[in-house]
Amino acid sequence: MDHYITAFGRINSTQASRNGKRFWSNQEGLKLADSLKAIYKILGMNYLKFFKMDEMSKLGVLGAEILLKDLNLTYQAHEIGILMLTSESSLFTDQKYFETISDSQNYFPSPSLFVYTLPNIVMGEIAIKNNLKGENICFVQDQFKSHLLFDYANYLLTRGSQKALLLAFIDVTKNDYECFMILIENNIKNNFGSFTSSRIEELYCNE
């Protein structure tokens, strides 16, 4: 069965886009937290739990919202899976948490930071927000690897356990951030190319 890329989106420190069309530009030079808040507002979201998340989860939830917002997907919850790739893992939040325990004279471990000190929590937040109950897996790699995403996604799709997949690359560092997501479906309408490793690479690098 052939599969296609039916939506893709990106958020970084300069812009946010959906299917190659920019809908937010960081003209004011906003820092990470304010950028995420600005995109949240533009997307018209009303999800107060968003504000309790760490930056990595916020980025992932916004990325998923960009893709899924106007799509009326008819799959059952367990038929949509998530594959995620990150090179920085949850280090940004790990460091924030570490600051709460590094001073023995001011030792107050933050429970709300601690719960985000794993990168796969992002997938949990995306799944909860969008009622996705399919399979999910998080890879920590040194860089974006389209062939890894393709190979594992292809395995799930051809095995038939998943009918649609959300593929994500999410990274947050002290000075930069990035979220790139694509949706894979067996739907030839309005697609952005066949689901191949080279097409993923092309969208990641050029769009």
Binding site: L48, F51, K52, F108, P109, S110, P111, S112, V115
Partner: protein
């Protein structure tokens, strides 16, 4: 007491990232959990840290938590009764 309640509301909003909520919108008698502000278990842990970090009060008996953290008012009452003036 009123001043403490107001200060607590500001601290809770900041500590729990209650976006868009102002101190005036929190009724000191309304429940913090479930039907009130809808806080969750992680929020409860953050409130315990807040009491320790800001007021030097360690909540060691879990059974008392429900009563202490029922509302902003009960939190303020506990602080008043357990801190030196």
């Amino acid at each position: 007491m009123d001043e403490l309640i107001h200060q607590l509301k500001i601290e809770i909003i900041s500590c729990l990232n209650l976006e868009g909520l102002s101190p005036e919108e929190i009724d000191a008698t309304q429940p913090l959990f479930n039907e009130g502000l809808g806080l969750d278990s992680i929020d409860a842990l953050e409130l315990i840290v807040l009491m320790d970090k800001t007021y030097g009060l360690k909540i060691v008996e879990a059974s008392k938590g429900k009563e202490i953290f029922y509302s902003v008012g009960t939190m303020a009452k506990y602080i008043m009764e357990n801190t030196k003036s």
